[in-house]
Every structure is written in structure tokens, then in C-alpha cells.
């Protein structure tokens, strides 16, 4: 499974793409008293296993709202979201927890580590929810922390780590249960330029190594160069989708200017 995923990530043969997330005319309306806010106005998207997808768009364009749908945190007002061909709206609370635990990894803008837990405990928490024994969880957690370059820091609490290090722990935590999809909502927004780039490169590395699908929302143009595909959203609609090949041209074009 890893092999095919890796193949898809590196060679990206268009024919063999396997869809991991599919949305059909997803709409989301927030009702605030009399006013209706149309955060999403019918989004059709197909996201393939093993790809690194960036979602770009101005503030308020609906990126976070879309992430909440895909992550099973919120339900569309209209339309369908399928994860591994399962309709998320059909899941009960128990199955949703299962989905969040096993299928989805979250990376937050503000890291969201549990402050009372060490780095290792933060990484192993999703494994505990998944039912691993403490020994299994610890071993796996140490491997993951090693991968994100924090093997030595496993016993540190979040407030003893820098922002970049905290986000690394969060990356390790997101990968804890070998999810199908990692959702990263502006993972670099609270980091300085260099640290942000490191996190992006780390995500890309994880994507190549384990074939995990990464969906990342960003304002950050650094993200473009590592993405397999970039989706631009505006006013709750997909404005444009660009593949890697087209992107290269654009990036050089921009740099040339």
C-alpha cells in the first residue's frame, strides 16, 4: 500500500490515482440571527491518496470551513463529503470519533498540544484513543519523535519547547495512527519564516516517506513549491486548480519578475 502511494506521490500517474477525499457540492451556511453567511457555496473536490494539496485563498474564503467538513468536525448544510468512499454525514458520534482518531491527523495553527503532557505523551495520546497498549504507543511515539527530529526532547512539556518544536510534535501526533489524510490549517501562521519553511519541508518529507495525503491551507507562497496541486478558493468556491507541472512554470515566472 505504501509503495503504490509513494509511486503516486512521486510519479503521479494520472490514471492510477485513488481518491481518498471526495466532496460533492458542499455548501455551508452559518445562520447568525437574520443574517446568513455562505461560507461554502458548492465545492466539488477530489483529493487523491498520497498527494500534497495546498488550499490557498484570502481570509474568510472558507478554507477552515472546508477543513472542518473534511475532518468530520462539522457537517455540510448541503452536499456530501466522502472519506475513503464513506459518507461522513452517515456516521454516528462513535464512528466520527473513530474517523478522527484513525483516518485523520490534525495540525493546528496554534499547535494545540496538551499542556500538561510531555512531547511523547502528546504523540501517544491518539494511540491511546486507538487502543494501543502503552508499550506499543511509547515505542511508536519515540520513532515518530525521532522522525521529526525531537527524539531527545521526548520528556519536555510544550512550554519548554519552541514554537517550531511544538509544531514538530504536532506533526508527529498527527501521524500517530497512520492516518489516510493529514489536515493542516495554516500550520506555519504562528511561526517565523525559516521555522515555517522547516515545518513545510517536514510535512513534505512525511508525505514522501509514508505516502500520507496532506491537505494544507495557507496564505503562504512557500507552500506552493512543495505542493503536488494547489487549489485556490474564493468566496466559498473553487476558483482554480493547478497541477505541479503548471505550477513550476508559474513559480519561475513569479521569481523571474
Amino acid at each position: 500500500m505504501t509503495e503504490t502511494a509513494e509511486g503516486a506521490a512521486t510519479a503521479a500517474p494520472k490514471e492510477e490515482k485513488r481518491t481518498v477525499v471526495r466532496t460533492q457540492q458542499v455548501k455551508r451556511v452559518y445562520k447568525m440571527g437574520e443574517i446568513e453567511v455562505h461560507a461554502l457555496r458548492g465545492v466539488d473536490m477530489e483529493i487523491y491518496t498520497g498527494e500534497y494539496l495546498s488550499i490557498m485563498g484570502p481570509s474568510g474564503s472558507g478554507k477552515s470551513t472546508f477543513f472542518n467538513m473534511v475532518g468530520g468536525l462539522d457537517k455540510p448544510s448541503e452536499g456530501k463529503v466522502y472519506i475513503d468512499e464513506v459518507d461522513v454525514a452517515q456516521l454516528d458520534a462513535y464512528e466520527l470519533a473513530w474517523l478522527r482518531c484513525r483516518k485523520i491527523g490534525y495540525i493546528f495553527q496554534s499547535f494545540n498540544l496538551i499542556p500538561v503532557m510531555t512531547a511523547l505523551e502528546n504523540v501517544t495520546l491518539p494511540m491511546v484513543f486507538a487502543g494501543l497498549t502503552s508499550d506499543e504507543a511509547r515505542d511508536k511515539g519515540m520513532v515518530l519523535l525521532g522522525k521529526v527530529g525531537l527524539g531527545e526532547r521526548y520528556s519536555h512539556k510544550p512550554n519548554e519547547l519552541s514554537g517550531g518544536q511544538q509544531q514538530r510534535v504536532a506533526v508527529a501526533r498527527a501521524l500517530a495512527n497512520d492516518p489516510a489524510v493529514v489536515l493542516a490549517d495554516e500550520p506555519t501562521a504562528n511561526l517565523d519564516l525559516a521555522t515555517g519553511t522547516e515545518i513545510i519541508e517536514l510535512l513534505r518529507e512525511m508525505n514522501r516517506d509514508s505516502g500520507v495525503t496532506i491537505i494544507s491551507a495557507t496564505h503562504d507562497h512557500k507552500m506552493l513549491s512543495v505542493s503536488d496541486r494547489v487549489v485556490w478558493v474564493k468566496d466559498g468556491q473553487v476558483e482554480r486548480v493547478a497541477n505541479r507541472e503548471d505550477l513550476d512554470i508559474e513559480v519561475t515566472h513569479v521569481e523571474g519578475e
Binding site: 500500500m1 477552515s64 477543513f67 472542518n68 475532518g71 468536525l73 462539522d74 472519506i83 475513503d84 468512499e85 464513506v86 452517515q90 456516521l91 458520534a93 462513535y94 464512528e95 470519533a97 473513530w98 474517523l99 478522527r100 482518531c101 484513525r102 483516518k103 490534525y106 493546528f108 495553527q109 496554534s110 494545540n112 498540544l113 496538551i114 499542556p115 500538561v116 503532557m117 495520546l125 491518539p126 491511546v128 484513543f129 486507538a130 487502543g131 501526533r173 495512527n177 489516510a180 490549517d185 495554516e186 501562521a189
Partner: protein, 233 residues
């Protein structure tokens, strides 16, 4: 391979030990605050225990019915020899009943205040930790796990506070009784009665903490995980 199996996902086993560990840790890290919350429990239970042990000690001394002890008791304003005297006893009995109901009223009031205090403190704790709770739910925590977390936290707190309250309440009463009745207290120490009271007080204090945490725990469990995703704050 995993496609259609999602909906029938296998049980997520949530070891109690982890919940115990997390809630214990949360308490330790917020020690100052939990100490304040706990002080309410300590005071209420100390009061309860003091009333109970005082009743037990006095009752035991009265049952001895020795003239020198009766004298001491009367000096402290306690009726003695109720069994014998006829007419006067009716009045005394009434007075004792009134005294008792006043005590009950005071105890209930202090316990009620204690529960409200616990509920309030736990609600604050929930609000403070909305991000933590949301994150845990994003990571796959079930509502029941969150409920467990907060109930356990409050129960630990309650247990510790109750134990302290029992010791304090008893110790104070015992010292006062020693001053009033001297060695007789030791001679006729109602060990069984006091132990029983301590047991009851422990149950009362701990269950009150549990009850006080119920609504906050429920609120925490119902919190939407989207909260954790929200970027600001």
C-alpha cells in the same frame, strides 16, 4: 482494504488508567487553583465531622451516666439523665430536637454551598480548557472519555479535601472535648461511632464532589471540536 469498514469501526478502548493519569496530572499542574476549590470541601466536611464527632463524644459520655461526668456535661450546657426525670425531660427533649434540626439545617446549607462551589470551579476549569478538550476530541476522544476526565478530577479533589476535612474537623473537636472533659474523653472514647462518622463523611464529601462536577463534565463533553480548530484566542 479499509474502505467500507469505517462505519463498523472496532471498539476504541479507553483505558481508565489513562484518564486517571491525565486528570491527576491536570490537578497537579493547577495545584493552587484546585487547592482553593478543595478548601470549600475541606471546610464543609470539617464542619460536618466536627458536629458528628462532638455528638458522638457527648453521647458516649452521657451514656456513662456518672455523676462527675454529668456535672461536667451540665456545666457545658448539656442535659443529662434524660431517662430518669419525668416532667422536665419533655421540655429538654424538645430543646434537644430543636438543636438537632438546627444542626441539620446548618450542615445541609454548608454542603449545598460546597456543591455549588465545586460546580462553579469545575465550570471555570472547563471553560479554561476548551481548546484542550476540543483537541482531544479531534484526536478521537469519545464524549465519555471527557466526562470521565472531569469527574475523576473532581473526585480526586473531593477525596483529598474530604480526608483533610475529616482530620481537621475531628482533631479540633477532640481537642476542645479534651479541654472540657479531660481524660474522660479518652476513657469513654466512642471509637466505633467516630470511625463510622468518618466513613460517612468520606462518602458524603466525595459524592458531593462527583455531583458538583456532573454538569460541568457534561458541558465539556458536548463541546464542539471545531472550537479547537479556531485559530484565534
Amino acid at each position: 482494504m479499509s474502505e467500507k469498514r469505517l462505519a463498523g469501526g472496532r471498539e476504541i478502548v479507553l483505558p481508565m488508567s489513562k484518564a486517571v493519569e491525565i486528570s491527576f496530572r491536570s490537578l497537579k499542574i493547577r495545584f493552587g487553583r484546585s487547592l482553593i476549590t478543595t478548601s470549600g470541601v475541606i471546610l464543609a466536611i470539617a464542619f460536618l465531622m466536627s458536629v458528628w464527632s462532638s455528638n458522638a463524644i457527648v453521647g458516649s459520655l452521657r451514656d456513662v451516666n456518672k455523676s462527675e461526668i454529668n456535672l461536667l456535661l451540665q456545666k457545658n450546657g448539656i442535659e443529662t439523665g434524660l431517662a430518669e426525670s419525668g416532667e422536665a425531660s419533655a421540655e429538654a427533649q424538645a430543646r434537644m430536637l430543636e438543636e438537632e434540626s438546627k444542626q441539620t439545617w446548618l450542615i445541609s446549607l454548608s454542603l449545598l454551598v460546597c456543591v455549588v462551589g465545586i460546580a462553579n470551579a469545575m465550570l471555570m476549569s472547563v471553560t479554561e480548557r476548551f481548546r484542550e478538550i476540543g483537541t482531544m476530541k479531534c484526536l478521537g476522544a469519545l464524549d465519555s472519555f471527557i466526562v470521565k476526565l472531569f469527574l475523576l478530577e473532581s473526585t480526586f479533589q473531593g477525596f483529598a479535601g474530604t480526608t483533610a476535612g475529616i482530620i481537621i474537623g475531628f482533631a479540633l473537636t477532640f481537642l476542645l472535648a479534651l479541654l472540657d472533659y479531660g481524660g474522660y474523653v479518652l476513657d469513654y472514647f466512642p471509637l466505633n461511632n467516630i470511625a463510622e462518622s468518618a466513613g460517612y463523611a468520606l462518602v458524603v464529601g466525595t459524592s458531593l464532589s462527583l455531583i458538583g462536577a456532573m454538569l460541568p463534565a457534561y458541558r465539556a463533553a458536548k463541546m464542539e471540536p471545531v472550537e479547537a480548530m479556531r485559530s484565534d484566542t
